[in-house]
Amino acid sequence: MMPSSSGGSWKSSGAGDGGVPDQFPAGLRVLVVDDDPTCLMILEKMLRHCNYEVTKCNRAEVALSFLRENKNGFDVVISDVHMPDMDGFKLLEHIGLEMDLPVIMMSADDSKSVVMKGVTHGACDYLIKPVRIEALRNIWQHVVRKRKHEWKDFEPSASADEQKPPEEPDYSSSANEGHNWKSTKRRKDEEDEAEEKDDSSSLKKPRVVWSVELHQQFVAAVNQLGIDKAVPKKILELMNVPGLTRENVASHLQKYRLYLRRLSGSPLPGGMNAGFMGGPDAGYGSMSSLNGLDLQALAASGQLGQLQPQSLATLQAVALGRSNNSKSAIPVPVIDQRNIFSFENPKSRYSEVQSQHLNNSSNNSSKQINLLPGIPTNMEPKQFVSLQQSGQHSFGSMNHQVLIQMGGQSQTQSQNQVQSNTNAHHGLRQPVLSNDMLTRGGVVDVSTTVYNPVVSVSQASSLVDFSMNHKTDSSGSSYPLGGSLGIPNVRATSSALQGDGNLDTKVSGRRIVPSYDVFNDLNQNREWGLQAVGLTFDQSPHSIQVGLDASSPLLLQHNRSSVSEMGGQNRILASGKVIFSPEVEARTHHNGSNVGQQRNTYVKTESHTDGSFHNTLYSEQYGQDDLLAAIMKQQQQGVGQPENEFGFDGNALDDLPV
């Protein structure tokens, strides 16, 4: 059923970004999702008649898992609007955020409101049932259009990034990172697998990484102009950021608008808005990506399951500091996360995280991943919105936020922070985390160690680039989140990793993916939502364990006990099933040992039985705090390898239990 992603997209026939293969659009890989078996059968037949490669799916969650496991395995998704297990629009959001694939909605309902909803949620097209084969023949245009758009967006920023010296930790570095990440990723893609990415990489360029600071500038500019009058050109002028293009701003604005719309639809508890709007400190930089990842993991663990992938995606995006270019949308993961997890303490958590983050201002790399405040990077409104919709992502976002914050800081800092912020239990906001986590069903036991930004970053990168992104693992400590459940947007993470301290994001990015998958597998039957990712970071004294309750697909996996000796980042993977192997392998080169090992461990963990997985992974008692702590620890650890600024023992990852 799964199309062989290795086959590459139809683009791989050498056409390059500009042209298309001769046989195009034949071989276009389509995923069609519809709960009606009759329609599904007919659509499949029609698409085959168009010479497309069809995969059909009658459940949205299954579709999401297909997409997650098979990053770049599909070119376009066609989905019905009314589905019993998940609303088509939610699926649309998830896909947009995580995989950034063109999605075509279809329905027998042709009322204007529904069509409009499709548009606002980002659907490329809307087909009215009964669908005729003629309508399907032309869906390839959406794929081409999207890629062209991405390419165009990349180009300007790429050159800008290259010119910019990487002296500043935030925007420029993240931009550079993104660029570096991209190139790394590209390289890695080529090295590691005949990834579709190879082809797409020729199309893609480094994205602009929307760091916290950058996003805050953006928001300030928008507020100054007035949301109605805010046009990209003016925003760009107000922001006055060299290297930023109007296109970058335009797409970010679009996402921001979606986010706002969603917020107005379902108001989030306190901090969220504030967070998105640009919380306290900027310094987000690399952490964002990390946070994104973590959040995603957390989010994944969320009960909702629906938005979780999305939030994870956002987390990743954030962590990776992905630009909000079309590519992937992991916007605003942090916030989403919050929503995802229980709302109970979102506010408290959020503020906690924020304060923590603030406290952690002293991070050595001066990277405050102030995720909460601005969860910026790729926080996209879309994601927020989706999260909100799910309603339960609060926890996720919280964790995410926490993670993000943590990420940026040096290990010591975060640890201190964590401890100071939380009760003795965990360094990092444990209480918050745990509460949330628990409520969610996923247990995040973020023991002392703060989620190491590096880790998260790498994870993020892995997440994003599920298949590749190894480069981002430079930080070494990739936080092995149980399996890449499908945090597709690893790309984002890897970019974040690049450069100093941004590793975290990358790490997290990657890591998250693995764990995510693990849980995903375990929780196949349940709503796909957040996969429990057991994040267990065992830095030294603490181990951040994120246990996930089997019932709640929390990404966090390991429970504390099992993870105790994990270097911290790899823990999660170790206990969980590591679904994604490619990423694991890929990471080896960064930082060297840690990553590689972690990767290996990840892979190994796959062999764990589900049962054991459940036992170890899901421990109800973990709370968000734990997760947060874990994340922070990870971050700290992860980054530590190369630079030790976090005082992290770079080789901590080595002893991740497999």
Binding site: I42, H82, S107, A108, R132
Partner: protein, 183 residues
């Protein structure tokens, strides 16, 4: 010939379903999807439809028994059922479904129940017709059915060359001769 008559009969039956409004253009779309690799496609789809949609009908029956009526649920169920019916081209069924949904929106319980009976009636009638149609088609062979649909149309008008036309098609002979003769 027996076979010609069969083909003609099949074509007539089919044409009648269209003329009487039981089937619409969508059914033709399905027929066009049928090919050598999947010669019974249309029948398979229709069978799947009848099997799958039965649950909607029973759910609707149950929902209509409840007091008070949950109109949004009824509407939801009917929407899905209608979507399914539309996809196979069940025209009359679709029309009745639309009536039903209108009554739902108007919260007209009586209208709903009445229309629902119509839906079921059309649904059952169509099934019988299609079953007969498919059975006939199976007798002449699956591949031929597809050809028969189009060819028989010619046959009706060009009775004398009918058998020749069909034979040529089935044997994959160049149609030039046939075409020259049939036109």
């Amino acid at each position: 010939m027996e076979r010609n008559q069969m083909h003609r009969q099949i074509a007539n039956t089919r044409k009648l379903m269209f003329d009487q409004g039981y089937l619409d253009e969508q059914f033709i779309q399905l027929e066009e999807l049928q090919d050598g690799s999947n010669p019974n496609f249309v029948e398979e789809v229709v069978t799947l439809y009848y099997r799958d949609s039965a649950r909607f009908l029973s759910n609707l029956d149950q929902a209509l028994e409840k007091r008070p009526l949950d109109f949004s649920k009824l509407d939801n169920l009917m929407h899905q059922f209608k979507g399914s019916s539309t996809s196979i081209g069940a025209k009359k069924v679709k029309t009745e479904c639309t009536h039903f949904r209108n009554y739902c929106n108007a919260r007209n319980a009586e209208g709903c129940k009445r229309t629902f009976q119509n839906v079921k009636k059309e649904y059952t009638t169509l099934r019988k017709k299609l079953e007969a149609y498919f059975q006939m088609s199976r007798q002449v062979g699956p591949v031929e059915t597809a050809y028969a649909s189009s060819v028989v149309v010619c046959t009706i008008r060009y009775d004398t060359i009918h058998s020749l036309h069909l034979n040529i098609i089935h044997s994959n002979l160049p149609l030039r001769r046939c075409a020259a003769r049939s036109h």
